[in-house]
């Protein structure tokens, strides 16, 4: 009998262990879980408002103040010159579009492939897409010489018959980014509807939040018909947004690839940029999740080591893919043998900013490969935060090397000149602050955890006993 008791204990330990590790096997009553998510939104300490206030000041001064100063005085206050006509503005544009890619990737691709670990953090990633695109928009409009006329790039019918030039990669950009912003916002909104309805039902009458949730929830009541429509719409969007996502960064890469510049006209730039975008975006998701888990109430229940583990594996995979494309791009350009490209490749590594080239490779390849292979390490939120931060620096360096440093070298050596950033540094800091500010604001208003998706996943998962063995079973709900 003793052996049976031991076996039983083992069994209980095993189940407890599974529950502790996997969110999907650790269900809570639905009411309690909804309450937890509501509390995570309302539990705001004074520290939050201090950070919020500081960031607001940074946004006001660095982003809007410095931008206004630049509009009033011309782009001379920035560091752009001949031949680096594009500087940090475009670096930041590409960087923020890159950040925005991870949201869709994690949310749509993992949803389509039914990867269960995605459930608690799809929304956190989708919010990054929308807010990242806002910063990309700021960055690209900032770099325009006469931004007050930027509406001329829109195909607006007018009596003078003036029309944008659809041969220009910048026009393709405008269309691609606008499409991506609109579709990703709708894709963020659709799975949000049931959670907004949940928040509406749990917000006292007469508050402005109640009105906010009531309007946005579109009268969702959770009937069978509503769920069917919602699932249908989400399914369409999840599939449709994946090609949009791949096309956006490919088109952004064509700004460079379609130009006649050494170092730019590389045919591999499309996929190279997409993978680079995923690389920085995954790192950013890891950073956001680490902060959310440690700073928001009840988040230790929703976001666990298994999620960081899965993200870490994805980051490692993306890092390897990026390394391949980097090598491929370098090889093809070097093998092309164009004398200006040769000069440029040498300038990348041995020029005055050669340290950036090496830092890029260390941050993007060496450090992720050295750390993320280990399951225990990559399950650690703060380690993943650190790796994600370094990857983001590395990817920013990559864009800096591709845009201002590569522009330094052209076919007319008489005009070669280094680029020294000016006011655009503050504008860049302003976009970072604005991104965090928007995210913090959203975390007080929008349920950061898609509760219904977690609950759905928990309903689908169960522990069943087959003979003496306890196994995890997943049923198909949809």
């Amino acid at each position: 009998m003793a052996s049976t008791a031991t076996h039983h204990d083992h069994e209980q330990d095993h189940i407890a262990h599974l529950r502790e590790k996997h969110l999907m096997l650790d269900p809570l009553p639905r009411g309690r879980m909804n309450e937890m998510v509501m509390e995570s939104m309302h539990d705001t300490s004074w520290k939050f408002w201090v950070v919020f206030g500081i960031l607001s000041v940074i946004v006001a001064v660095f982003l809007f103040g410095a931008w206004g100063y630049m509009i009033a005085n011309g782009l001379g206050v920035a560091g752009v010159n001949r031949p680096s006509y594009w500087g940090i503005f475009l670096v930041n544009t590409v960087f923020w579009i890159g950040i925005s890619h991870a949201g869709t990737f994690i949310s749509a691709i993992l949803r389509v492939f039914k990867a269960e670990f995605r459930r608690p953090f799809t929304r956190a990633a989708e919010l990054m897409t929308t807010f990242g695109l806002v910063q990309a928009g700021f960055s690209i409009f900032m770099h325009m010489g006469r931004v007050w006329l930027s509406y001329w790039l829109m195909p607006i019918p007018n009596q003078r018959g003036l029309w944008p030039n659809f041969h220009s990669p910048l026009s393709w950009d405008l269309l691609a980014i606008t499409t991506y912003l609109l579709s990703s916002t709708m894709y963020l909104f659709l799975p949000l509807i049931p959670d907004l309805a949940m928040a509406r039902d749990r917000t006292p009458d007469g508050t402005w939040q109640k009105t906010f949730y009531r309007v946005l929830a579109l009268g969702f009541r959770g009937t069978e018909g509503e769920w069917t429509h919602l699932r249908h719409a989400m399914n369409i969007f999840a599939f449709a947004i994946i090609p949009v996502m791949f096309s956006v960064h490919t088109i952004v890469s064509w700004d460079c690839a379609a130009a006649t510049r050494p170092g730019w006209n590389s045919t591999i730039f499309g996929p190279y940029f997409v993978v680079g975008a995923l690389h920085s975006g995954m790192g950013a998701v890891a950073m956001v999740l680490a902060v959310v888990q440690s700073r928001m109430k009840h988040m230790k229940y929703f976001i666990r080591g298994e999620h960081f583990d899965a993200l870490g594996m994805l980051m490692l995979l993306v890092s390897m893919t990026w390394a391949y494309f980097f090598f491929n791009d370098y090889m093809v350009q070097w093998y092309g043998g164009d004398k200006w490209t040769q000069q440029l490749l040498h300038f990348h590594e041995a020029g005055p900013l050669g340290w950036m080239w090496f830092a890029m490779l260390i941050f993007n390849v060496a450090i992720p490969w050295a750390t993320l292979w280990n399951k225990k390490w990559r399950s650690n939120p703060w380690l993943l935060f650190g790796v994600g931060l370094l990857i983001n620096f590395g990817m920013w360096f990559e864009r800096y090397i591709i845009i201002p440093i590569s522009l330094t070298i052209n076919r007319m050596p008489f005009t070669w000149r280094m680029y020294t950033p000016g006011v655009e540094i503050y504008l860049g800091i302003g976009t970072v602050a604005f991104f965090i500010l928007l995210y913090m604001g959203a975390s007080r208003l929008i349920p950061l955890i898609p509760v219904w998706e977690v609950q759905e996943g928990q309903m689908a998962h169960s522990l069943k006993k087959y003979g003496r063995e306890t196994v995890v079973t997943i049923s198909e709900l949809e």
């Binding site: 001949r82 594009w86 944008p164 910048l170 130009a259 008489f414």
Partner: protein, 246 residues
């Protein structure tokens, strides 16, 4: 290069890059590097002075510049010939397709590369894509201290901050010559007028005229054995021919 498309519904001719109408020949062997062309161009076209600091930082706005290099290591250095570089008025210009606002267009009448200042929103893509790096951007509103405003050329627009500009082959002079010729019921004669740089050149190193007329002075010079085009391998069909090696 004319491509004829034969698709069942569509039948169209796409002219992709055509040799220009007006052209220039620059004899590097007699250029003394005196910069008179640079000064004359700035006067004629209201090109602003950006000051020493901005100029040193690569923001000078001259539409024409005189390039010169040293070859070899000190003290065994050899100077390369002076090379005035201006907009090459490409027949197949890389700057034109990349402008999202159609501010960089090819004129049909003059077969020149035009910059429409009013339409420019300042994306600076054209300047990135110009292999000759001859486009100037108005980084600021540059001041013209008194009495300099009195010498502004009324035939040329004064540009504001945030727009791109570049050499126009002195299109205002082309138009004036054409108007005069038309009122007298004749064609513009070869050598009847010249852009400011060619007019100011004391060595007559810059010759301007019709390159579609094989008998013009510029065509004869360009046909010579010393003639070459800048970055010819890019297929931009420049209208400027350099002469070197005589």
């Amino acid at each position: 290069m004319t491509t004829e498309l034969k698709i069942s519904e569509i039948s169209a001719n796409f002219a992709e890059g055509e040799q220009g109408k007006w052209g220039m020949a620059i004899d590097m062997d007699i250029c003394t590097g005196c910069q008179a062309c640079v000064a004359a161009c700035a006067m004629e076209n209201n090109v602003p002075f950006v000051g020493e600091a901005d100029s040193g930082y690569g923001r000078s706005m001259h539409w024409i510049r005189t390039e010169r290099f040293w070859e070899g290591e000190f003290p065994e250095i050899k100077m390369t010939p002076y090379q005035p570089v201006l907009c090459q008025q490409c027949g197949h210009a890389p700057c034109e397709p990349v402008c999202p606002a159609f501010a960089t267009v090819h004129s049909q009448a003059e077969a020149l590369n035009l910059q429409v200042y009013n339409r420019c929103v300042g994306t600076r893509y054209c300047a990135n894509n110009c292999p000759y790096q001859v486009r100037s951007f108005n980084w600021r509103d540059y001041e013209r201290p008194e009495p300099l405003p009195n010498q502004l050329n009324p035939d040329v627009t004064v540009r504001r901050r945030g727009v791109m500009e570049k050499c126009t082959f002195c299109i205002q002079r082309i138009h004036r010559a054409e108007d005069v010729a038309k009122s007298e019921g004749r064609e513009v004669a070869d050598g009847e007028f010249a852009p400011a740089c060619a007019q100011a050149c004391p060595a007559d190193a810059i010759v301007f005229g019709r390159i579609d007329d094989p008998e013009s002075a510029v065509s004869k010079m360009a046909r010579g054995a010393r003639g070459f085009h800048l970055l010819e391998e890019l297929g931009t069909l420049p209208a400027v021919t350099y002469l070197k090696g005589g």
